[in-house]
Symmetry: C2
Subunit: 106 residues, 2 copies
DNA sequence: ATTTAATCGGCTTATATATACCTATTATTA
DNA sequence: TAATAATAGGTATATATAAGCCGATTAAAT
């Protein structure tokens, strides 16, 4: 398999689906049960596992249903609170920095 | 923040969006540029960052555009090939196991 | 080899997201 | 403080996903 950087989003989606299916099989739970726990339809889960398009909500619900906290942490980790840094740092930037164009002439 | 297990999918989606925004800011790239690189609209990126619903494809395109290979690896890692295990193992199960119901009576 | 539950994929309708365009707000530079 | 680029959020239309149903396929137990 090629480096991730060279994969298209579609390919990554397929890989992701395969991974989720492997996760489910490793836990020996059928699609019916996972879909039920996740509160989604079996069809939505099939589409997710086959990489045929799904929503972020479907993905997160499925990860939750699979108890894959590791993956969720990676996606949405608790903010790393470094107590020391906290003392010295101001609030983080909320926008990107830019250098402003100078008004030329006139 | 409570344990991930107790968060709803919506909350996780919001967390994810915040994380993605932090990632972008850490790289000092504006939404316009990321959206451009990802091949999605700025609005789609805003919806993703604000946790207002998006697709897996939009998520993956954005991760790619941010160069967040780490997150992608976590979501869709290369299959771990253990050469030793490979020799001894048969093909992995493709379905969930079940114990079959016995036909009663008759 | 037979049985059968798990999985798959097509279909239709409902719902949600993506796009494009717009105006309003605001963090940050200068 | 004033200027302005970055961001936010609304709307309308196009497109994609979700749900629910179905019949066909097939891995795996027996």
């Amino acid at each position: 398999m090629a480096d991730i950087v060279f994969k298209t989003a579609k390919e990554l989606q397929t890989d992701l689906g395969q991974r989720l299916r492997r996760l489910r099989l490793a836990r020996n739970i059928d699609q019916r049960t996972v879909a039920g726990k996740a509160g989604i339809s079996e069809k939505a889960l099939r589409n997710l596992e086959s990489g045929n398009g799904s929503t972020v909500e479907t993905l997160l619900r499925t990860l939750k249903a699979l108890g894959y906290t590791q993956g969720i942490e990676m996606l949405a980790p608790e903010p790393t609170i470094d107590p020391l840094a906290l003392l010295h740092r101001a609030k983080p930037p909320q926008r990107v920095r830019r250098t402003r164009k100078q008004k030329v002439g006139l």
